[in-house]
Symmetry: C2
Subunit: 692 residues, 2 copies
Amino acid sequence: MNSQQKRLEQIKNHIASRFPESSENPSLEEFRQEGKYINPDVLMKHYLGSRYERMVSIWNTMANSPLFHHYDYEIEREEARKRGFQRIAELCSKHPITPEQARKDPESKFDIILGIAEYDQSEGVRVLVHLVLYLSTIEWVGTQKHKNFIEKGYSMQDIGCFAMTELGHGSNVSCVETTATYNHSTREFILNSPTSTSAKWWIGGAAKTANMCVVFAQLYVNQESKGVQVFLVPIRDKNTHEALPGVVLGDCGKKISMDSVDNGFIIFSNYRVPYDSLLDRFSSISPEGKFKSTIKNNEKRLGVVMGGIYGGRIIVVMSAEQNLRIATTVALRFSALRKQFGYSGKEVPILTYQLHKYRLVRQLGRVLASRMANFIINEMYIKILPLGEADPECDEVNEFHAVLSAYKALIGWYSVEGTQACREAVGGLGYSEYSALGRLKGNSDIHATWDGDNSVLIQQTAKYFLKQFQNTLKGKKIKAETIGFLETNYEVVKSFAAEFKSKEGLLNEHTLVKLAEHRVNYLLHTSMVKLQENAANSSEMLEAWNNTQVHHLQEIGKAYGELLIIKRFFDWVRQIKTECSKTASVMQNFAYLFAVDCMEKNLALFQECALSIEQGIMVKETLVNLCENLGYESVKVVDALSPDDRLMHSAIGKRDGQAYKHMINAVESAKNVYAKPSWANLILEMRKGSKL
Amino acid sequence: MNSQQKRLEQIKNHIASRFPESSENPSLEEFRQEGKYINPDVLMKHYLGSRYERMVSIWNTMANSPLFHHYDYEIEREEARKRGFQRIAELCSKHPITPEQARKDPESKFDIILGIAEYDQSEGVRVLVHLVLYLSTIEWVGTQKHKNFIEKGYSMQDIGCFAMTELGHGSNVSCVETTATYNHSTREFILNSPTSTSAKWWIGGAAKTANMCVVFAQLYVNQESKGVQVFLVPIRDKNTHEALPGVVLGDCGKKISMDSVDNGFIIFSNYRVPYDSLLDRFSSISPEGKFKSTIKNNEKRLGVVMGGIYGGRIIVVMSAEQNLRIATTVALRFSALRKQFGYSGKEVPILTYQLHKYRLVRQLGRVLASRMANFIINEMYIKILPLGEADPECDEVNEFHAVLSAYKALIGWYSVEGTQACREAVGGLGYSEYSALGRLKGNSDIHATWDGDNSVLIQQTAKYFLKQFQNTLKGKKIKAETIGFLETNYEVVKSFAAEFKSKEGLLNEHTLVKLAEHRVNYLLHTSMVKLQENAANSSEMLEAWNNTQVHHLQEIGKAYGELLIIKRFFDWVRQIKTECSKTASVMQNFAYLFAVDCMEKNLALFQECALSIEQGIMVKETLVNLCENLGYESVKVVDALSPDDRLMHSAIGKRDGQAYKHMINAVESAKNVYAKPSWANLILEMRKGSKL
């Protein structure tokens, strides 16, 4: 059934609805009116920051295109991919990007990806793979001779994919098994997948769409390993769209979610490609057949190569925020209209209950916090781009890498945990696919895994910190702006004690920032102590490192990420204040909420290093109070931050508050809703005892 | 494609595999050999307890039936329901239950449901709805005249469903809107769904399968409300399988998971049913038209009625354990064979890393703990059944209700959280549907919601406790066995301090049980204080109650549930010790692990009420050590507790450790794996620029 037929059937079903007529449900609107004043335009502008205008324009294109008006929750993979491709083609044709624009304004790519991801993250991923993973890799690792591939990529004559992960290797990229053997006599490379685990796996676009591919493979020159290098190769015939000889392309099959991304596998079998396939900015082979590299160390070189696709990771963090924001919008709106139990015989919205506010308002705090993380990494990115171009291993790039690694993990976890909390908070109707929460849960789930497993990646932050710390011990001065608070004297750290004496005393920027800084310092010192202790019992440093993860090194990235968010949150409130003090005042409470949330989550640690038991109780009670007090405003906040309902396509989370009506529509529009089962004969037979 | 064709295609694909040949992967077997000796038979027998023989026999039936050999992860709802029905029919025909057997041995129902749920929880649910929710309700609330329906239910001539929840009301059953108006002149009831929100919703079996239904509706006699009563009514014609006149039956549509359950909605429109439809054990209408009830209070009566379906809740708890056990099996096996990074240039299984063990071994501790919860509720159930028959409001039933409510929530949450942890721990391959983790996540998700929202239901436990507490303050002696530890003197509670001085000192039954008891006592007293404080600021007691949830009343059920598990866990270890001391010794460490896990999760609270900061650090370190030390054994434990691989149908979690091979098989067996997309023309067009 095409989408026009679908809509016709929907209308038919609606007219023929078998449900009793019901009047409009005023509950959401009534709830909304209870909240303090928030200026939605001011909030939205400050929330989107520099991307406000472009984002709104992209959202408008989508909201006005019939291709985006209907979301089919029961579509088959093949059809989902087709329709996704159509939507992508439409959007990219209306908001085209040129290579020059991408260079001058790197965020232009981000916006188109996040625009379509607002409708469906899996479609955003398809654009991301092409525009960022594929094209940015060529832009970063390629040289002059690869320029025409960049042109063809932006004009969509080529569609590219990014073949790094294999069936047997994910996070540990330097051990991929795909080989590229240099043949000097023909000046070719021969690509091979020598084992079944060496098949490239999960390659977005490879299963059905892409004709080009960047491939990570172990280079062998004269039987000598030269580490992982990157090759740009065609994989499908441009005219027939068939896989090229020597290349096997297949579909990785059904996933928990995001089936619309055609993740595929690639097997190379003596696939010969010309020398120019090597993206040779950092490594090359001379006409005499001698391998050269500007970065000698294989691991370091791989790190620098990956630096070219930081944009992908930034978008991953932004789409984690997006997921959680949409889920929170659905859950808060529904909880404001869903009435259950109550007082004096009158049912009340479930969002009026303390526990429910505690569960959901907290998530909204994390949504806003995730946005702060986005600001931080976007701004750093723009700053480091030219620096990294000049020196890919400079301090600023390392600092950025540490911050970005922390956020990729932290905001991804917020999204996983928060989306689940939203699903649970709306009860049974959240278990319907039509609520959108299933899709959002499935989408957020992968944020723990892709682009570097969270628990592996977040170790990068600890590594950076320890290095900085050791440098200071050696007398070097810390230059990195974001870690100026670092306290190298353990005695000073140990003697820290929070000074606040009341709940009110806790709620000020200075106190909350100091506590967040202290958390990092304390974790850093105790991790160092533990690491030294473990080093004495380990045969190599890496073993000691791995044995110092739980409660120590893993926590550093989280603490650091949350600290930077808290600081940035208060700055953001000040910016808003220049335009609307009432909106700023609500946002200030959200900043407090988030900072206290971070303490409460780690209360045992704070009690260990900073708080008395009485202060710990104050933290818990303050968090409950903040959630309580921000319940009504929460609905107004998500209203302000949500684009058109049609992009969210949740039957229960729409702005008009008519969740039951929309759920009935969704159910009555589905296939076979009133049909007798095609297998009714089996039931009749069993009834007659033929089976028993 | 039927399942035979499917298998043929599988074989064809396998022969035609385009992947390189690989040798067998020895990693899982090598890992397994590192573990200490565990006797798998002893462990399995003690794990299943009294149900060992029957469970194994049911599993064997399934493992030997071709209907269970293939699991299709991409099946459409309609087809999934058909095949599920066939499997259910097959299993129920081979393990039939008679009304007498169900009466004598209530667990016989449980086993058939859990048997099939081992293959797919959604199919277990379909049997559960019929055998427990439908039939037990008739058995409990019906009278002599309803006996024939019981007969017809067990012999599968009738298939029943259970219509309690509505679109507008879930947990708050006493406010359902469906009406049953008594018409004295015809001695009939007229059922109506007066509003759209009054439609019965999520009714398992209603969409496609059931011909009978128990309906919860507000009874009106002479325009007077008589509270919610239960009616037994036909909904489909037994011969044509069409919905009866006055009854609208529809499909609730796509869900996050468990699409194989045909959850439906029911709308009644002047549906006239005879007087005998009323299940009249507790309420009846005299021939003169006068309403009578043996339980005057509407709320109390509803509570007693629901008591008839405790079996459903017990199975829910058991299937939460089942979900988490299967997920843990998949994750542990895969993590023992998946190698990534390593030492001295040699990759090692990810399960050798501290962090990974911390994430997964802990989950296995909770699996075993969940089993202890099952023992507790099963044994209490068998004990209270005759007591409840005589007096449905007796103390023992109330105690059971408190324990069961706590476990429904607690074990459900373990399952949700743990299944997610397992998914994340296996990385990208866990995001493939063929890993089974998507299905398990989807199945466990509903455990937070169905059969009473967890956060609502767990309040029942706190309510019970506070009542017992108030009774003791009034001088009554506590009779309930499970709460004998209750300390009514707050001063005694406040002065508690844990005595252990070392990590070794922590690890003994006495210390751990005392700490777990103290947690309940402390929460109870602080909740009472908070409740009194809130009562002073609330217009009604219910408001104060609701404002005392976070950190207080919500926690009581968790603390109580975990305490009973810990006690039971050590008893269980002693039982095993009589047969195999080596197995018992490993299990004792799991008992320690679980007890310490419960402390670590609540460390801030324990620091507040029982532990010094130093002791808190010992708790954290002890948990890490226990997880470390039980890594190798964990794989042996899940081996012992898993039935045939074919019932688990996870490509990456099979016993043979050939995860990559099975994943390739799964992928190559899927539809269109190597096919060019049917929409390739769109790509070719875009390439030519026709869209740009």
